[in-house]
């Protein structure tokens, strides 16, 4: 008899990094990766706006932690943790973007395939601006990235997957390359606005 197999945990960031605060989920995941080293049973996935195409990753996970922008009419930058059965209802409460609709469908599809995660948590952030084409995260959201990463570490710890906070200056393997990482993208972007 060996030790019971560790639960497979997926930490998923979703959203469109090219679209202002829509990028929260992916940037929060990137921040988490920069500040924490997770144990081997935890995988990190930049899900982008892949919607239904993420079902296989969700299916393989025993436990799922999601970073996403959510609209709950809160003060911009407010973080909200939602757990368990509330997650699909929550993402459905106010649909505000393409990938959110897609993600509800992902959960339903995993359910239909008989592979719904046994534990599910969402770390959501209320956006300020979703209409700035090619724009960066707004300050209220950007300032919460580290806190969102810290919350994820707390949840993972509760799930039996303690994460190690990296030492200052310690390098981590980058999640996003080719100039679309947070630093390269956010530091120099001209923006245009849709008006309205």
């Amino acid at each position: 008899m060996g030790a019971p197999l560790a639960k497979k945990i997926l930490v998923l960031g979703i959203g469109n990094i090219l679209w202002a605060d829509e990028g929260f989920g992916v940037r929060a995941l990137e921040t988490f990766n920069a500040f924490y080293e997770a144990p081997g049973n935890v995988s990190l996935l930049d899900g982008g706006t892949q919607g239904l195409y993420l079902v296989q990753f969700v299916e393989e996970a025993d436990r799922l932690l999601v970073f996403d922008a959510i609209d709950y009419g809160l003060e911009p930058g407010t973080l909200k943790i939602v757990q368990g059965d509330e997650v699909p209802k929550f993402t459905g409460a106010k649909k505000m973007s393409l990938h959110q609709t897609g993600f509800q469908e992902v959960l339903s599809a995993a359910d239909l395939l008989g592979a719904y995660p046994e534990k599910l948590a969402l770390i959501g952030c209320q956006p300020l601006d979703l209409e700035d084409w090619g724009g960066p995260l707004t300050a209220p959201v950007r300032e919460r990235l580290l806190q969102a990463a810290e919350l994820a570490a707390v949840i993972l710890d509760q799930w039996g997957a303690p994460c190690r906070r990296r030492a200052p200056g310690e390098a981590a393997a980058a999640l996003l390359g080719n100039d679309i990482d947070f630093q390269s993208y956010e530091t120099r972007i001209p923006t245009i606005r849709t008006g309205g």
């Binding site: 919607g51 505000m96 609709t101």
Partner: protein, 596 residues
Amino acid sequence: MGVQTPNGFNLDNSGKRVVVDPVTRIEGHMRVEVNVDSDNVIRNAVSTGTMWRGIEVILRGRDPRDAWAFTERICGVCTGTHALTSVRAVEDALQIRIPENANSIRNIMQLTLQVHDHIVHFYHLHALDWVDVVSALSADPKATSALAQSISPWPLSSPGYFKDLQGRLKRFVDSGQLGPFKNGYWGSKAYRLPPEANLMAVAHYLEALDFQKDIVKIHTIFGGKNPHPNWLVGGVPCPINVDGVGGVGAINMERLNYVAEIIDRSITFTDQVYLPDVQAIGSFYKDWLYGGGLSGKSVLAYGDIPENANDYSAKNLLLPQGAIIDGNLNEIHPVDLRNSNEIQEFVAHSWYEYPDETKGLHPWDGVTVPNYKLGPNAKGTKTNIESLDESGKYSWIKAPRWKGHAMEVGPLARWIVGYAQAKPEFKEPVDKLLKDLGLPTAALFSTLGRTAARALECQWAAYKLKHFQDKLIATIKAGDSSTANVDKWEPSTWPSEVKGVGFTEAPRGALAHWIKIKDTKIENYQAVVPTTWNGSPRDPQGNIGAFEASLMNTPMVDPNQPVEILRTLHSFDPCLACSTHVMSADGQEMAKVTVR
């Protein structure tokens, strides 16, 4: 009465206006407004979208070798095809030639996307426009089994299989969370399948969901990861090491054999499940031949899947290239993406401004300056539009035109061009399908034809996957394992000013990126995406776009339940998966739907 458009439609906006509108206007959402006459037939159609247009702004000043990674994020569903288009544009500008293996691997990546996207689109985004899920609950599993076995040798067809599946579906529906099946107009008279065909289709919905996971593993193998596989200017980023065993990232025989196995299963699935399903569903809708729109008039294909590396001329492309105008299938016009008089984008009815809006601009000279204002007869406010005024500006999508013509792009356009060229691999499957359904050639120009062309193309792509897999292995066995040409990787080797164009056939249609590079940085970058062609608004001459044209003259069973509108728009596989609700003419919300 009404207004006659130059491209042959009579628009009459005097009847009741039905608005199919997104919950928000964020990110690629679309909205459609139609006017119906007293018999509920659509007599005017207005399509608007918030297609994302900011890529040129983001990319200015960046390294051209990174552009693919940005363009991969434009859209949630056609990531890889944007990346491929981007690296081709940069290679064209810098005159970089790629190795034969890189061409084969890119074709495998692109064909994999076609197979994957077509299957997911049909089963998970479009089938529910034809299939009534709730009706499946009343099917007889034995009769379902008999039906399934009469149309295909696919083994998952026993009465017990369908009985179990029906039980799962019932538990799911009874739990109150319809999940992916919510937002349907279940029970509408617009649905025509008997319960057994509905149950069979729902079974295949689930099987396709399971199967699509395997297809994309090809992207992981050749692209290093999925989602968001890696690409490389000059070739592909995966080294080949046939003698290696499990080397990190390298392609070895074990992985190549695994790819071959997935390809074989893709062929079986399209042969035995997808095509028979489309044919079976089609047999119940063969008198519902609406939705043709521009397809019987003007279609455009750039072509794709070069047989040999570095030759993008029409004769070397396995997916056909050409333009057909005014329904004349006897004349196929060559298409030149560099010619400033061919592809032009207009903004007379788009929320942008040009110095002279009667004229169009070729993408190399394209500009994107927003100008958001509503026409004088629009109702509501800028932040809460009740109904649009199509006589003014009404869409975030520009209006691309080919020599002034509004064009349809996509699988049906490609297959019409291939059919008109009398290429057996396109003509024969179409003729066979039409014959089996007892339909004339004209039936091809319809919503059903669009859906069928996609299925035929999926099958074509699955077989072509095998072709390029075999070719790749043969080349490797002959001793050539090169996958990238890095001779011009260093920007110091580049000329100071160059421009290029890259094109592909994305699953949903012709896609091209135009790039200008100055002093090693991107100076201008313009992408004209398939849904810009299909979802375009009117142009200065008043020609309506493909979505708009496709809705014209379609009778609706009930305007409060716009199944017919969704069915036709979904048949284009618009890359705007979006939530919509239906509003009545006075802005009262009538019902909620999802434009999937």
